[in-house]
C-alpha cells in the first residue's frame, strides 16, 4: 500500500517561522519553570515521603485531606489513583509536603520524613482497629507474611504456610480484603475461615507502598541523572560527528536539548511530578528524536552524492519529502503504542505515556524544523569544507 506519491513540499521555506515558534515555546517554558510554577520534583529527586494506600471503602480526596488537616498535615498532596476495571476512590497517593521537623542535623532528616509518614498513617486510620487491637486481634489487611504464617501454623500445624499464602495472594490481587466472605473463593478450609474471623479483623486501609528519600540520596540521584544525560548526549555528538560531519552532530544534540526542554515545558504546565520513570520517558523521547534525525541526515548524505552542485537546502527538502512516508508511518505506529499505554497502562505508566505522547509529535517537528536549519545556519556562519565524509 502506498500512503502517497513522494511529495515536494518546501518544508525549509518556513524555517524562520518555525524557529520563532520554537523559541517562543522554549522561552515560555523556561519562564514557567524558573519564575512561576517550577518543576515539581517527585520524592526521587527532591526528598520526602510518598505513600500509596488502598481503602476498604471508597473515599474522596477531600475526605482524606480533612483527616490530614486535623493533625496539621493539610498541605499534603492527596491524589486519587485511577485504576482500570475497578471502582475509583479506593486507591490514593499521598505525599507529605510539610517540611519535616529538622531540629537535628542532616542525618536525622530521613527519620523525620519517616515520622511524617507514620503520622499520616495514624491520622488516616483514626480509631479504626483500636478496639480490635486491644482484644489482641491482628489486622489481616496489613499483617506481614511471616506473622500470618506463624499465627495460622500455631492453630493448624502443617498447613499454616499454605493458608497464609492463599490469603495473601487474594490481598495482593485485590489490594485490600473488604470482607471475610471474599476469601471463600480461595480454597481455604471452613475452619481456617472461622479462625480468621475470630482472631483477625479487616482494617480500613492497607499500605501499597511507602517510599522515603533523604536529602542526600535525592541530591545524589539528581546529580547522577544529569551526569548520565550529559555524557550520553556527548557520546551521540561524537559518533554523529564522526559518521557525518561536526555540524550534524551539533545540530542533532541541539535538537535533543530542545526536545527535552519543550517536553519539560509542557510537562511543567500539567502539574505532574518528575520522577525516575519520567527520566526514562525523556530519554526515550531523545531516542526517538535522534532516530528521526539520523534517518533524515542519512538521506541527506546519500542525496549529496546524487545531487552534486545543488544547494544544501534543496537537498534537505528532497530528503525530508522522501522520508515523509516513513516518518508518518513510524511516528504513527509509535503514537499508537504509546496511546495504548496511556489508555491501559494504569497509574504508574500513565505519566510516562503522557510524556511520550507529547514527545512523539514534538520529535518529528524538531527533526524537520530544527536539526536541518541548524546545519544550514552552521554552514552559513562557518563556511563549508568541500565534500561530505562517509
Amino acid at each position: 500500500m502506498q500512503l502517497f506519491k513522494t511529495p515536494s513540499i518546501r518544508f525549509l521555506k518556513y524555517k524562520y517561522v518555525a524557529l520563532a515558534i520554537t523559541a517562543a515555546i522554549v522561552l515560555a517554558g523556561v519562564l514557567n519553570i524558573t519564575a512561576f510554577k517550577g518543576l515539581k520534583l517527585g520524592v526521587d529527586f527532591g526528598e520526602g515521603t510518598l505513600l500509596r494506600i488502598a481503602l476498604k471503602s471508597p473515599a474522596t480526596e477531600g475526605q482524606l485531606r480533612d483527616l490530614l488537616k486535623s493533625v496539621d498535615l493539610g498541605k499534603s498532596q492527596v491524589q486519587r489513583s485511577e485504576k482500570t476495571g475497578s471502582e475509583t476512590g479506593r486507591e490514593f497517593q499521598i505525599r507529605a509536603m510539610e517540611a519535616a521537623s529538622t531540629k537535628g542535623n542532616e542525618a536525622d532528616q530521613l527519620e523525620a520524613h519517616e515520622a511524617l509518614a507514620d503520622k499520616i498513617i495514624t491520622a488516616l486510620l483514626g480509631d479504626d482497629g483500636k478496639a480490635e487491637k486491644a482484644r489482641g486481634l491482628i489486622d489481616l489487611n496489613t499483617v506481614d507474611e511471616r506473622t500470618l504464617t506463624g499465627l495460622l501454623e500455631s492453630a493448624f500445624p502443617g498447613s499454616g504456610p499454605d493458608a497464609a499464602l492463599k490469603v495473601l495472594s487474594y490481598r495482593n490481587r485485590e489490594g485490600i480484603i473488604r470482607d471475610f466472605q471474599d476469601l471463600s473463593g480461595e480454597g481455604l478450609k471452613p475452619e481456617v475461615q472461622t479462625f480468621l474471623k475470630d482472631r483477625t479483623y479487616l482494617g480500613k486501609m492497607t499500605i501499597l507502598s511507602r517510599e522515603t528519600v533523604g536529602p542526600q540520596v535525592g541530591a545524589d540521584l539528581r546529580r547522577k541523572a544529569v551526569q548520565a544525560t550529559i555524557w550520553s548526549l556527548l557520546g551521540m555528538l561524537v559518533y554523529i560527528a564522526l559518521r557525518f560531519r561536526l555540524e550534524y552532530g551539533v545540530a542533532a544534540v541541539f535538537t535533543l536539548f530542545q526536545d527535552v526542554l519543550i517536553t519539560m515545558t509542557v510537562y511543567s504546565f500539567t502539574n505532574r511530578e518528575i520522577n525516575l520513570p519520567i527520566i526514562a520517558g525523556i530519554l526515550t523521547i531523545v531516542g526517538f528524536s535522534i532516530n528521526d534525525t539520523i534517518v533524515i541526515f542519512d538521506r541527506v548524505r546519500e542525496n549529496q552524492k546524487l545531487m552534486r552542485g545543488k544547494p544544501l537546502e534543496e537537498i534537505m527538502n528532497v530528503a525530508i519529502n522522501q522520508c515523509l512516508g516513513r516518518t508518518i508511518i513510524t511516528s504513527g505506529t509509535v503514537f499508537l503504542t504509546v496511546g495504548a499505554l496511556f489508555l491501559f497502562g494504569g497509574d504508574v505508566i500513565n505519566d510516562f505515556a503522557f510524556l511520550m505522547l507529547i514527545g512523539t509529535i514534538e520529535g518529528v517537528y524538531s527533526t524537520v524544523y530544527l536539526s536541518c536549519p541548524v546545519v544550514l545556519f552552521w554552514q552559513k556562519w562557518f563556511g563549508t569544507k568541500k565534500g561530505g565524509r562517509r
Partner: protein
C-alpha cells in the same frame, strides 16, 4: 535452497533455539522482576566511617599509655583530641629521642610532632582512608551475612560510592524488622555488675559517693527486654561476642524463647575463672550498650558448658538475635538514607497493567504492519516477535531484572524495530517505483536502508551504554533492555527480515505484496 542461504537459516534457527533455551519456561525464576514490579524493600544506608577512626584513636590512646608505662617514660596524660588526633601531655622534651623511637616503631600509622611540653599525633590520611574503606567492606560483609540468615531469595547487597551500601530484598514485606536487623551493631558483652539495677543514676551511685569509679561504667537496661533501670558494671568485659563459638535458638526452663551459646577455649577459660570467683554476684549480658538480662552466677560455669541468654524474647527477636550474633558485629554505625517498600499488590498491579498495555501495543503495531504492508508485513511481525524472544533470552542470561523503566526501553526498541522495517519497506517501494525488478528492489532496499538503521541504532546504543555507566538503578534497567533489544534489532530487522524475503520471494517474481 540457495547455498548461501543455508548458513543464514542455520544461524537464525540457532539463535531462536538459544533464546528459548535460556528463557524457558518464561517464569519468575528465569525473567527476574525488579522491585517495582515484584514488591520488596530497597534501602540505601551510609556507614558512619568516622566510627572506625574513633575506635582506632581510642585504641591508640590505650596502647600509648601502656607503651609509655612499659618503657618508663614519664607523662601526665594521653588524651584524644578529636578524630584521629591524640595529644600526649607531660614533660616529654628531655625524653624526646626515646619517645620518637617508640613512635617510629609502634605507631607507624601516625604522624607526630613535638612542642615544649607535649607530643601531637595525627592519623596519616592514607591509614585513615584504609580504615574507612575497611569499615565499609566489613559492614557490607556483615550485612550480607545477616541478610543470608533471613533466608530471602536473591537479595542484593552492594556498595555504592565511598561509604554507601544498597540493600534490595525482593518479596520481603516487613521493613521494620529488616531495618532493625541490619542496623543493630550487635556488640555483645558479659560484664560483672557492681551495683544495680537502680531506678536512677543518683541511687545507683550512692555507695560510691556519687562518683563513677575509674574501672566501671553505667549502662541502662533494655526496656524492650523488661529491664528498666541503671546498672554499674565493670568497664572490662569478661567475654564478648567475639569469644562465641556456637550460638543457637533454644528455650529456657519456662519454655520461653532464648539463645544458647558456647565459648571458644580462650573465652571459656576466662568465663570459668570469673564465674568461679564471683558466685552469688550478678553478671550483665549487654547488647549494644543495653542490658538484656542480669542473671546471678549460681556456680562456676565450666569452659565447655556454655550458657543461655534469657531476655523475655519473643520467638522472632530470639531468631534475629541468633542471626546477628552469628553474622558478627558491625564495625561502625550505620544510618539510613533511603527506604522504599513496595507492596506485592502494587507490583502485581503494575505487572498486570504493564503486560496489558504492552500486549495491546504489540498487537496494534502488528495489525498495522500487516494491514499496511500486506504479506511483507508478516515479515516485520516475525522480526518483531523474534526481537522480543531474544530480549527475554538475554535478560535471563544476564540475570538482569525487568523494571518499569525497562519496559519503557522495550517500547523504544519496538518503535525502532518497526522503524527499521518501515525504512526498508519504503525503500523497496521506491526502488519498485523506479521500475526495478522485485529481486533487485529487495536487495537494493535493504542495502540502501542499512546505513540509516545502523547509524540510528548504534547512536542509541552508545547513549544507552553511557546511561548504564553513569545512571542509577531505574535508569540502568532502562539502558539494559534498550541495549539488548537494539542489538537484537540489528540482527532481526536487517538479517532475518532479509533472509525471510529471500526465502519467500522467488527470483523471477513479478509482483511483491508490500
Amino acid at each position: 535452497m540457495k547455498k548461501n542461504l543455508q548458513w543464514k537459516v542455520v544461524l537464525t534457527v540457532a539463535v531462536i533455539a538459544l533464546a528459548i533455551f535460556l528463557a524457558y519456561p518464561f517464569n519468575d525464576a528465569k525473567i527476574r522482576r525488579g522491585l517495582d514490579l515484584k514488591g520488596g524493600i530497597h534501602l540505601t544506608l551510609q556507614v558512619i566511617t568516622d566510627d572506625s577512626i574513633n575506635i582506632e584513636t581510642d585504641q591508640e590512646v590505650t596502647r600509648l599509655e601502656e607503651l609509655f608505662k612499659k618503657n618508663s617514660i614519664t607523662f601526665s596524660k594521653v588524651t584524644k583530641e578529636g578524630l584521629g588526633r591524640i595529644a600526649v601531655q607531660g614533660a616529654l622534651a628531655d625524653q624526646e629521642s626515646k619517645t620518637r623511637d617508640l613512635f617510629e616503631q609502634y605507631s607507624r600509622d601516625w604522624d607526630y610532632s613535638f612542642t615544649a611540653d607535649r607530643a601531637n599525633l595525627t592519623l596519616k590520611p592514607l591509614a585513615a582512608q584504609f580504615l574507612r574503606d575497611q569499615s565499609v567492606s566489613q559492614a557490607k560483609e556483615t550485612i550480607d551475612n545477616r541478610i543470608n540468615g533471613l533466608g530471602v531469595s536473591e537479595p542484593l547487597v552492594q556498595t555504592q560510592g565511598k561509604d554507601k551500601i544498597i540493600v534490595e530484598l525482593p518479596g520481603v514485606d516487613d521493613p521494620e524488622r529488616v531495618k532493625e536487623l541490619i542496623k543493630v551493631t550487635a556488640v555483645l558483652e558479659w560484664k560483672l555488675v557492681k551495683a544495680g539495677p537502680a531506678p536512677d543514676e543518683a541511687t545507683l551511685l550512692q555507695a560510691t559517693n556519687g562518683q563513677v569509679p575509674d574501672d566501671a561504667e553505667i549502662v541502662k537496661g533494655d526496656p524492650k527486654r523488661g529491664e528498666g533501670g541503671f546498672y554499674l558494671v565493670d568497664k572490662v568485659a569478661v567475654v564478648t561476642g567475639k569469644d562465641l563459638r556456637t550460638i543457637r535458638r533454644t528455650t529456657d526452663e519456662w519454655n520461653n524463647p532464648a539463645v544458647s551459646f558456647t565459648l571458644n577455649a580462650d573465652g571459656g577459660a576466662r568465663f570459668e575463672q570469673v564465674t568461679g570467683a564471683n558466685i552469688g554476684k550478678q553478671i550483665a549480658i549487654i547488647l549494644d550498650k543495653k542490658v538484656q538480662s542480669s542473671p546471678v552466677v549460681e556456680s562456676r560455669i565450666a569452659r565447655a558448658q556454655g550458657g543461655v541468654i534469657q531476655g523475655r524474647f519473643d520467638a522472632q527477636t530470639a531468631d534475629d538475635l541468633v542471626v546477628v550474633l552469628k553474622a558478627g558485629a558491625l564495625p561502625a554505625g550505620i544510618k539510613y538514607l533511603e527506604e522504599r517498600t513496595i507492596g506485592p499488590a502494587l507490583g502485581a498491579d503494575s505487572v498486570r497493567q504493564g503486560l496489558m498495555a504492552g500486549l495491546v501495543a504489540i498487537v496494534a503495531v502488528m495489525a498495522f504492519m500487516v494491514f499496511f504492508y500486506r504479506l511483507s508485513g508478516f515479515n516485520a511481525v516475525a522480526a518483531l516477535l523474534l526481537n522480543v524472544l531474544i530480549l527475554f533470552g538475554a535478560l535471563a542470561y544476564f540475570k538482569a531484572a525487568l523494571t518499569l523503566p525497562g519496559i519503557a526501553g522495550i517500547i523504544l526498541s519496538i518503535g525502532m524495530a518497526v522503524d527499521a522495517n518501515v525504512l526498508v519497506f519504503e525503500r523497496i517501494k521506491e526502488e519498485l517505483a523506479l521500475g526495478k525488478g522485485v529481486a533487485s528492489a529487495i536487495s537494493q532496499g535493504f542495502s540502501r536502508a542499512f546505513s540509516a538503521i545502523f547509524d540510528s541504532n548504534l547512536t542509541t546504543i552508545i547513549s544507552a551504554i553511557f546511561l548504564f555507566q553513569f545512571g542509577t538503578g531505574p535508569i540502568r534497567g532502562y539502558a539494559v533492555t534498550l541495549t539488548i533489544s537494539l542489538v537484537a534489532n540489528l540482527f532481526t530487522a536487517v538479517f532475518v527480515s532479509h533472509l525471510l524475503f529471500d526465502l519467500m520471494v522467488k527470483k523471477s517474481a513479478k509482483k511483491l505484496s508490500i
